[in-house]
Amino acid sequence: MNPLVLWFHKLGSPPYFYRLAGRLLPWLWGLGLISLAVGLYGGLVLAPSDYQQSDAFRIIYVHVPSAWMSLFIYGFMALNGFIALIWRIKLSETLAMAAAPIGAAFTFICLATGSLWGKPMWGTWWTWDARLTSELVLLFLYFGVMGLYQAIEDRRQASRAAAFLALVGIVNLPIVHFSVNWWNTLHQGSTVRLFGPSLIDSRMLWPLLIMAIATKFLFAASLLSRARVDLLELEAGKDWARQVALADGDAA
């Protein structure tokens, strides 16, 4: 068999994934925290203040990476849900369901910081801007997936049902965005465009990109540690889980 395919099959086995994730986790946390520190220093100290928004624009360094992550994680969750439903890979079910709370956390950060940014810039905590509204619907979609997963007792059936809902959601997401855009133009002529055609200065841009990388690493680290625990719980009856528990008990 092709070594890559073989590795992929091996990855699907819970004990192998558990060990591999355990070895990767310190690296992911380390890289995430280092790039976070660099990004924050660049964004808060090195980047010059904006000529229109003064220092309030610095909220961009948490707001925009969170918005990117909220969409990226939904895509990741739906992709894993698709794999879980088609090939019935247990690991994909676990990864999809572990991603949902992290995605909801980033969506919440995006909405809260957006609101904190909107207050000084637009003079209001909330506007029914197309992007804000779509992001709110996205948060509800995350809550729906998590709620459905928690409501079904059988864990595997729960993750399959929730994965299916995530897939329905991803079909719906572009439609929601399109319809909200359409509704928005119908109601209010133009809202303040924060990132219009104006080109962003490269001294402002690089911390943003570093922050985007940092959030990716933090997502990966949180995802793997969640998936590890979920696998342990899911496979509680298996031998390897028992060995992990005993080894950990001796260490603690």
Binding site: V137, G144, I152, W182, L186
Partner: protein, 227 residues
């Protein structure tokens, strides 16, 4: 299986579901009563001035009907799941999406159609401008089947649960957003004298797409929750 047998299965399903509804015809009126009550609450909350009510009338009727439909969704598979006939349906040799499409059609005819019939009355209670009424009815005629079809997929996911009411709302309402936007958009456009065809056409396109995809998705979801 030949076409004839699938067709007769659908017909049997229609007859069965209709007679079940007919035997409990009092229950079938509950969504209508609910929608009327919700609409009656609005003048109490906002005051009786005709101008204020007329401005929000179309949107209020849409939301009231949407909520009434949401409450009746739960009953779509409930009794069939409890008496085991839902599993019979899944095991039958006929294509499950087709059978589910029949069930959804019966559900729409028995819950959404009465709501559509009282919509003019609800509009009158809120001083809906006469010019908006045909547009509202057209938007409702296109959007209520959409709501039933989208809702059926989510109901299929929650079918085994004992208390699914609030969860169902959480699953369904984000998916309803586009439908509500286009239906209300058509009514608002009519109120401002703008062309109303575009949002209605969008609703029609959505209905055509959902009519094909929703029964398939509903069947897949049902197989997951009955596995």
């Amino acid at each position: 299986m030949s076409y004839g047998t699938s067709f007769s299965a659908c017909r049997a399903l229609f007859v069965r579901d209709f007679s079940l509804v007919w035997r409990r015809r009092g229950d079938a009126l509950n969504p209508v009563l609910f929608a009327v009550m919700v609409v009656v609450l609005f003048p109490f909350a906002l005051g009786p001035e005709p101008n204020a009510l007329a401005r929000i009338s179309a949107g209020t009727v849409l939301v009231a009907l949407l909520l009434a439909g949401l409450l009746s969704l739960d009953a779509l598979f409930r009794s069939d799941f409890e008496d085991g006939s839902l599993e019979q349906l899944v095991l039958s040799p006929h294509p499950l999406p087709l059978l589910l499409a029949c069930k959804i059609a019966v559900h729409w005819l028995t819950t959404a159609l009465p709501l559509l019939l009282v919509a003019p009355l609800l509009g009158e209670l809120l001083y809906l401008p006469r010019s908006e009424l045909p547009v509202l009815l057209a938007a409702l005629a296109l959007s209520t089947p959409l709501l039933s079809l989208i809702g059926a997929v989510c109901v299929a996911l929650t079918v085994g649960m004992r208390r699914s009411g609030m969860l169902l709302a959480l699953l369904v309402l984000p998916l309803y957003v586009p439908v509500l936007i286009f239906a209300a958009g058509a009514c608002n456009a009519a109120g401002q004298g703008l062309p109303v065809l575009a949002p209605l056409l969008w609703l029609g396109a959505g209905l055509a797409l959902t009519l094909v995809l929703a029964p398939l998705a509903c069947a897949a979801a049902l197989r997951i929750s009955l596995s």
